[in-house]
Symmetry: C2
Subunit: 347 residues, 2 copies
DNA sequence: TCCGTCGTGTAGAACGATTTACGTAAAACG
DNA sequence: CGTTTTACGTAAATCGTTCTACACGACGGA
């Protein structure tokens, strides 16, 4: 009659006793480590399922891995992230790894705090999605844990992996499409960020500038920036659309912003695309809605997420050299850039 | 010359040695437990900041709390959840608790797996947002950890807290508004779910039915259901809008669906609200866009999230009795239900 | 026959916190 | 003044794993 709690937790020790083997043997089976016979493995597996044993992740984290991956998103409002998460989930479906999300609120301070919080919790690896922090901070994080960065272009060689679409190409595709449709004064509407050089917005700007020059529209190059907040965006867009001369087309760095631009255009009584053409980026599901019908760049968030998760697991398992994946974007044309009477105003 | 790793981790022991006190004393300061003098606290705090010590969450989780709260969302596409998360983040800002998200993919199996994964990781409490699992499963979860359920109405007394808006009232507000504008055949467009009785969709249906009857429109009552997937929604809506007689108004259980309905209506060449009025629920940020201009019900996701987090922390700290918070929804009228020439077709 | 080596399994020391049980000195009490 | 209480600290056990070091028998080559 030892004074034991009746509903004690099923631990690795319980399993070991039940299977008639040592604790270490059970641990080996769990991690499918080297040095267990098939007979022993079967015995232990049987006990595990019979007892309904689940490994205590916190205890695991003390010595080995926690089998938890941290994903940091800038915010939850951009539906593009849903696609990426779907990809990550799909990639980890059959593995032991569990992704958990943190929201960085588009703030460097919050992001850094979140990284620390995740590392305190012994996460085995991190996926940073469009981080707002500087490249050397990311490098420091990568020293502490396996890291994959998405939607963020490093400037030099790095010790972490990256997954991106070719943002310069995406921007070029847009400019080429618009130029082909006869639009000349094309504005690039970007985001006001602190550490610009590695952000996707900047790379899209590079592509925009290059393509404009190539198309002989160099003198129309114009980049406008605004804060992310809807109010800032709207006032900026209103200025833009009420200015003289009015731009013929606006290329927004992400769909989310383009929807705001569509809204302001409509409020001002402007017709899209006859008075002004509008393009987004990311090809989120809202682009397809008839009231938006937004031409956009598809970069397959699902694929991006899948690859990022794959790279991270590889790296956790020991890969040392950095990999930098770039996927090719694709233009999806919708009504927001195609004039009803498609006359090319070719002069 | 003990053979120590040079860059060893700063542990509670390091801090204790540095401050010249015992390990337990430091632990007490960390948890601000009873029985530490102000002098000792100050000494320890100084050491902590000097050494840059951060508690190892996995180790904490072994015996005490992990200071981690799990939040489970059905998906990442509904922008309403962003508001809720903002509220949760705000409430936990100044506390030690760190919220981490999991995505349930609107699937009971995935949700249950996620709950287990979170409990394996010793999370101190769970917030379930619009769970798709049965009420008794939720009850079982609540036995294992403090739990707060949002957007889900329990049928009887429970051992977990809930936070909801008054969904019946919200639906009533919509019907009253539409009836007041002269619409008579108002369809409720709901979601096809397995365990209906406790879902918000069902409560909105109850409100809809009651209000229709009260408004003398009982014979127009009509509830249509579809799967969540865009394709299913669109075909169902197309059927609805091409049927004879065409409904005069469609009340969608959430904004997200209403946007699809707006899209289909436009594709069919129907004018909103002259040919058909459309209403949503949640008042997500996209409602405000001119191309949507969607009348909706505001239930302040931010406030809901804030309260949920507050309740959860309270419960972790020891509260036993369940609390059920209900906040009052508010109708936000936009162009999707207001005819340009507002003639009441009063017969 | 002797001596590695290999394959399998075990005992026990970590990991870094919390928590229990217990000292010890100072303050309060009769 | 002796005793109890209170306040503050401490040592050591504990949580559930992983991992290192080693034991043991079988096998194979010299």
């Amino acid at each position: 009659m030892a004074p034991r709690k009746p509903s004690a937790r099923v631990t690795i020790r319980t399993v070991a006793a039940d299977a008639g083997v040592s604790v270490a043997a059970v641990s080996k089976v769990l991690r499918n480590a080297y040095g267990v016979s098939e007979a022993l493995r079967a015995k232990v597996q049987a006990s595990i399922t019979r007892l309904g044993y689940r490994p205590h992740a916190a205890a695991r984290g003390m010595r080995g891995q926690s089998y938890t991956l941290g994903v940091i998103l800038p915010d939850l409002t951009n539906p593009f992230f849903a696609d990426i998460m779907a990809g990550i989930d799909a990639a980890l479906e059959r593995t032991e790894y569990q992704p958990l999300l943190g929201v960085g609120q588009s703030s460097p301070a919050v992001e850094l705090e979140l990284v620390d919080a995740m590392l305190d919790r012994q996460m085995d690896g991190l996926i940073l999605l469009g981080p707002r922090i500087t490249i050397d901070r990311i490098a420091a994080i990568a020293e502490r844990a396996p890291t994959v960065v998405m939607a963020h272009h490093p400037v030099g060689p790095t010790r972490f992996d990256t997954v991106n679409d070719d943002d310069q190409l995406g921007a070029r595709l847009i400019v080429q499409h618009l130029a082909g449709m006869g639009y000349r004064s094309i504005v690039y509407f970007s985001q006001d960020l602190q550490f610009n050089e590695s952000q996707v917005t900047y790379h899209r700007e590079l592509g925009y500038r290059a393509a404009m020059t190539e198309a002989g529209l160099g003198r129309y190059i114009s980049v406008v920036m605004a804060e992310q907040a809807p109010r800032e965006v709207r006032t900026m867009v209103r200025q833009l659309l009420q200015g003289r001369p009015r731009p013929e087309a606006i290329f927004c760095w992400t769909d989310f912003i383009a929807f705001e631009v569509l809204s302001v255009a409509r409020e001002l009584g402007l017709s899209v695309p006859d008075d002004v053409a509008i393009v987004g980026y990311d090809n989120t599901r809202y682009c397809d809605l008839a009231q938006n019908a937004l031409t956009s760049i598809d970069q397959s968030g699902q694929l991006l997420g899948l690859q990022a998760a794959r790279l991270l697991v590889e790296r956790i398992k020991g890969r040392e050299e950095a990999e930098h994946l770039v996927i090719t974007p694709r233009l999806v044309v919708r009504a927001s850039t195609v004039r009803k009477n498609a006359v090319l105003t070719g002069n």
